[in-house]
């Protein structure tokens, strides 16, 4: 099979072990580690901040840097979850349930060792799934025409919004806002100028990088500044016993069934667009509890190591699963994947048939780099857990100016355009306002990235259908996707009406 061409895989493997590639991988891993540890920042902010730097690299190096960042963030977040009861990223919240009680019992090293090994192994299992899926998704995606891509973009926005649960409508509003923002500037096909109001800067529309950096990184900094104090709640960090750590590392292997089940849940949930690691981690934890022997069930929540292994393996395995819809259909599984998608687009790789046929080498580099990053992350976590946890004590007044300086200068450096700094600030405020009002922001980057694809696909669909959209009803692929869109909306409406009825009855 062409997708599993050993020559391409071998080339990707050797590329990763070139000196500069290794440097980018380690740099990405270290950056992701720091951001993963700091609650509220996480991989999305790190990725957004890295975009300007990646633009100076070739596509392969940029992907390696990004893979480094993405691979490590979920692993490092477990350290603070165990030591400080403060999850570094949202999915690590499930790890606090048993990880923190273990630390209180003086078994922090044991829990960290198990978490790091489960993360590393879970990540590798997720990547194996991705490897298996590449040839299959490639065949599926080649069956799609512009009509399907237009509908897939709509499906992406709907499913991503649906994943926010009861906030479906609010998420949809944010997504629609993103689509309007994406339509500013010259239309790619007609050349018509839209919403520029005579401002030259807007001719090419809002640039992706300042918008992403503002929306994710600057908004988080405003939030952090307004909260004041240290990034995480302060606490005591006890010394980590290396022997305990090594014993913990062996635990996921001893409990391989838990590891495999957690990884399978993570991979499956990750492959569903919009359903993030938090769902995967808690689902894996819940299933671990319900499938445990009745005599063991009471120990969950009080320091059962299975309660650390299951969510951590799921959390890391989801990355491999989430890459499948991102690469094949351009539908990211999370905000992090949406930012990663924008990096691919900025480097001229359009997800879908193009990337699956013309950039297979890049896909393999990404796969190998992500697997390597997970392993490096586990090693660093095991060897420097207590130092990593201390990062959370940094005062927000020290962190904010540093991150802001990188964010603003990064935005500027892309095109040497000072107005990009204003754009970054503006979208920082917009992102913060959405955050403050509890509007999920996940649909925004997706809309920004998919907007141009939707416009082009719409134009091509009109051309194919002689000026009408009747072709949408001619192809079975289109009909299936339309049914999925209707199904998603119906699912939300069903929940909405049921809840309305319940409230009416109880009132």
């Amino acid at each position: 099979m062409e997708a599993l061409d050993l020559a391409i895989i071998g080339e990707a493997f050797f590329r990763l072990f070139e000196l500069d590639s290794l440097f980018y991988l380690v740099a990405g891993t270290l950056i992701g580690l720091v951001f993963g540890v700091l609650p509220g920042l996480g991989g999305t902010t790190a990725l957004a901040l890295m975009i300007p730097f990646s633009m100076n690299m070739d596509a392969a190096d940029a992907i390696i840097l990004m893979a480094g960042v993405m691979g490590v963030a979920p692993t490092s977040g477990a350290v603070t979850a165990i030591l400080l009861n403060t999850p570094g990223t949202a999915p690590n919240a499930a790890t606090t349930l048993d990880g923190y009680p273990l630390a209180q019992q003086g078994k922090a090293g044991f829990a960290i060792g198990a978490a790091a090994a489960a993360s590393g192994l879970g990540g590798i299992i997720g990547i194996i799934f991705l490897i298996a899926m590449v040839p299959i998704t490639r065949e599926i995606v080649l069956m799609f025409a512009p009509t399907e891509f237009l509908l897939l973009a709509v499906l992406g926005l709907v499913t991503v919004s649906l994943s926010t649960g009861k906030k479906f409508v609010k998420s949809l509003i944010v997504g629609l806002f993103g689509l309007i923002i994406a339509s500013v500037g010259y239309h790619e096909v007609t050349g018509e100028e839209r919403f520029t109001f005579g401002i030259d800067y807007l001719w090419d529309g809002f640039k992706l990088v300042p918008v992403m950096i503002g929306f994710f990184a600057v908004s988080e900094m405003i939030n952090l500044w307004a909260k004041r104090g240290s990034v995480a709640a302060s606490g005591e960090i006890e010394g980590i016993n290396l022997r305990q750590v090594l014993q913990g590392c062996l635990e996921p292997i001893k409990r391989w069934k838990v590891l495999l089940r957690g990884s399978a849940i993570g991979t499956g949930v990750g492959a569903l667009p919009g359903v993030g690691g938090t769902v995967a981690a808690f689902m894996a934890y819940t299933i671990a509890v319900t499938t445990a022997k009745p005599s063991e069930r009471d120990s969950f929540g009080k320091g059962n190591i299975v309660g650390v292994i299951a969510p951590e393996s799921a959390n890391n395995a989801k990355e491999g699963g989430a890459l499948v819809p991102t690469l094949a259909f351009g539908i990211p599984g999370s905000a992090e994947m949406a930012v990663f998608l924008s990096v691919l687009v900025l480097h001229g790789m359009v997800p879908g048939p193009t990337i699956m046929t013309e950039s297979l080498d890049i896909i393999w580099i990404l796969i190998i780099a992500a697997a390597a990053s997970g392993v490096i992350a586990s090693i660093i976590t095991i060897s420097a857990a207590s130092s990593i946890a201390k990062l959370t004590f940094v005062d927000s007044r020290t962190l904010v100016p540093i991150v802001l300086a990188f964010a603003m200068i990064g935005s500027y450096s892309l095109d040497n355009e000072i107005y990009d700094v204003f754009t970054t600030l503006g979208f920082g405020f917009i992102g913060f306002i959405f955050m403050r009002f509890g509007f999920p922001r996940i649909a925004f980057p997706l809309a920004i990235v998919l907007g141009p694809l939707m416009e082009t696909s719409y134009f091509q669909t009109l051309r194919i259908g002689d000026g009408t959209l009747s072709i949408l009803f001619d192809r079975p692929q289109s009909i299936i996707i339309m049914l999925l869109i209707v199904g998603c909306i119906a699912y939300y409406l069903k929940g909405f009406l049921t809840e309305a009825d319940t409230r009416k009855t109880s009132a």
Partner: protein, 153 residues
């Protein structure tokens, strides 16, 4: 179903509704292909904003009550954050990116972070040197030097 205005989100939803109406008005003057996204996105946005504004989506907030309470920050803090970050951008426009970053880091750490003068000054200078080295030397990017040198207006 009773209509009860969602007062919690009204300050966001009213501008968003106005934004959707404005987009629809301006966007409808474009050609059929160019207006495809602005037209449909603004119509759906208008409808969804009204849906939330009318309180039909109120259930979405129920789960967040505890979180919002825990996460609450005073408006004064938010305004202070917005003011300081805007001041940084204005400063960057006037005196250049790196001097603004150094000055902002120092002021933030010394006056608000309670750091001692040598630590605040030292950290800000190191930050400036890292930024200069990284962008000007390694990435070979010539950074913005301020309105008085660059002559932007």
């Amino acid at each position: 179903m009773k209509i009860k205005v969602d007062t919690d989100n009204v300050w966001l939803l009213v501008p968003l509704t106005a934004f959707s109406i404005g987009t629809l008005y301006v966007g409808s003057s474009y050609g059929p292909v160019s207006s495809f996204i602005p037209f449909w996105a603004s119509i759906f946005m208008f409808v969804t904003c009204l849906f939330v504004l009318a309180g039909f989506d109120k259930q979405a907030d129920c789960d967040d009550v505890e979180k919002t309470k825990a996460d609450q920050m005073s408006s004064r803090n938010v305004l202070s954050a917005a003011g300081w970050i805007s001041a940084f951008v204005v400063m960057a426009y006037l005196i250049g990116l790196i001097p603004a970053a150094v000055a902002y880091a120092f002021l933030s750490m010394y006056f608000f972070g309670g750091k001692k003068f040598p630590i605040a000054a030292g950290t800000s200078v190191v930050l400036g040197l890292i930024l200069f080295g990284l962008f000007e030397f390694i990435l070979e990017k010539e950074l913005y030097k301020g309105v008085f040198i660059e002559g932007y207006f």
